[in-house]
């Protein structure tokens, strides 16, 4: 499998925050979900990859190419959805498109019109009057109108209601149907990815915690609930996270079978992505 993006030893520090030498890949033909709490470093990473901010060190390759010397080709093949207020509010969507379109050699006016139609957006409407969901859809319509092979999206679904989020994800799945397409999608709403992601990347306090196939991750982890009276010190060590109350315990583990030996009456269930993420980044289950 070729990689759409290869990031090696990316470093960036400012204020009290720092990206610690992070490395990961975004494989071709996959939707890579980039998860982490607010402030974990998702946006900094994405902006550094796109050179919207200057990294302190490290390298980023797109389809094996360095940015230097291939800037035009790389930018042509990437569609970006970032809510950084880069649209001019006083323009209509059609006017804004006229500014952006010439930047791409493969701009496809027909595709843009079709996308606007699909998203029920009126090109004559002013950008200042768009709701958050319409803005996200407009950004996606632009990103999908120049035959991009890679979509890079930073929190595109935050602030959207569940119905629009699902619609948005369906459009992404549709984009993936063609061969050679890839997506890097950051979000703190992990449930969005439960259905669509192929690979998952968890970032916490500026470091990558894991980079793994989503289904393998779901297969490996289990929620185990049981009686507190059966819990032992040795058994506690088998959990990634564990909460105990007077009525029982509940925790996330990779060692469900071993725990069952200590606590025969324990109940084992599959974990959700949210459970797993919280187990790694130190959150507590309710």
């Amino acid at each position: 499998m070729q990689n759409a993006i290869e990031v090696a030893n990316l470093k960036k520090s400012y204020g009290g925050f720092c990206l610690n030498d992070i490395s990961f890949t975004v494989p071709d033909n996959c939707i890579t979900g980039f998860i982490g709490a607010n402030g974990a470093g998702k946006s900094t990473t994405i902006k550094s990859i796109l050179r919207l901010i200057r990294a302190d060190g490290g390298s980023v390759r797109f389809w094996g190419m360095e940015f230097e010397g291939h800037e035009r080709e790389i930018k042509d093949r990437i569609g970006v959805v970032i809510d950084d207020g880069s649209f001019y509010d006083h323009l209509t969507m059609a006017q804004m498109k006229n500014i952006i379109a010439p930047a791409y050699s493969a701009w496809d006016e027909g595709a843009f019109k079709a996308n606007m139609e699909i998203f029920s957006l009126n090109p004559r409407q002013k950008i200042s009057t768009l709701s958050k969901g319409m803005r996200a859809k407009y950004a996606l319509a632009l990103a999908l109108s120049h035959n991009a092979d890679l979509l890079i999206m930073d929190e595109p679904t935050s602030g959207l209601d569940p119905v629009v989020r699902r619609e948005f994800m369906n459009i992404i799945l549709d984009f993936m149907k063609k061969d050679g397409k890839s997506v890097l999608f950051s979000t703190h709403i992990v449930s969005d990815l439960e259905r669509v992601a192929d690979m998952l990347l968890l970032i916490h306090e500026g470091s990558i915690v894991f980079e793994q196939e989503k289904d393998a991750l779901l297969d490996e982890h289990r929620v185990v609930k049981g009686k507190r009276t059966e819990m032992t010190e040795e058994c506690r060590k088998l959990f990634l996270s564990l909460s105990e109350t007077d009525y029982g315990f509940e925790g996330i583990t990779k060692n469900a079978a071993q725990i069952k030996r200590f606590c025969p009456s324990a109940v084992v269930e599959r974990a959700t992505l949210e459970d797993i993420m919280l187990a790694y980044v130190g959150g507590k289950r309710e």
Partner: protein, 125 residues
């Protein structure tokens, strides 16, 4: 073909899916030469990752149940009829073993079990 993914199962997702496709092939719901859905479409429909469906197809191919053709997709293999017959026999044998285990558990004798089998066999005809 039905694919039912159980959240209660201990089996990994790819294995659950692979076993159900194999079953569909052995039962004849999927016939030799049938085109399987694309890895992406299949993944979307059953709600798993394309890496999982690709793994399922790769393993089905390795085990001789499917053949992939570059640019055209993955097809149910024409297959080695002998292999298929063996697998079918094995499937029936497994069910019979289960019945025998239960029979022993409940104190049903070999003769009784054989009689039950004869009666059921006729009823099914």
């Amino acid at each position: 073909m039905n694919i039912v993914i159980s959240n209660a199962s201990d089996k990994p997702l790819y294995l659950q899916i692979k076993e159900q496709i194999k079953e569909a092939i052995l039962k004849g719901e999927l016939k030799a030469g049938d085109l399987l859905p694309s890895v992406r479409a299949f993944a979307n429909d059953i709600g798993v990752s394309v890496l999982t469906t690709r793994r399922v197809y790769d393993e089905l191919e390795q085990e001789g149940y499917a053949v992939s053709q570059a640019g055209r997709g993955t097809f149910v293999a024409m297959g080695n009829p002998e292999l298929l017959r063996d697998s079918k026999r094995r499937m029936v044998e497994e069910d019979m073993q289960k019945a025998i285990r239960n029979a022993k558990l409940f104190g049903i004798t070999r003769e009784e079990l054989q009689q039950m089998m004869d009666i059921l066999f006729e009823e099914e005809d």
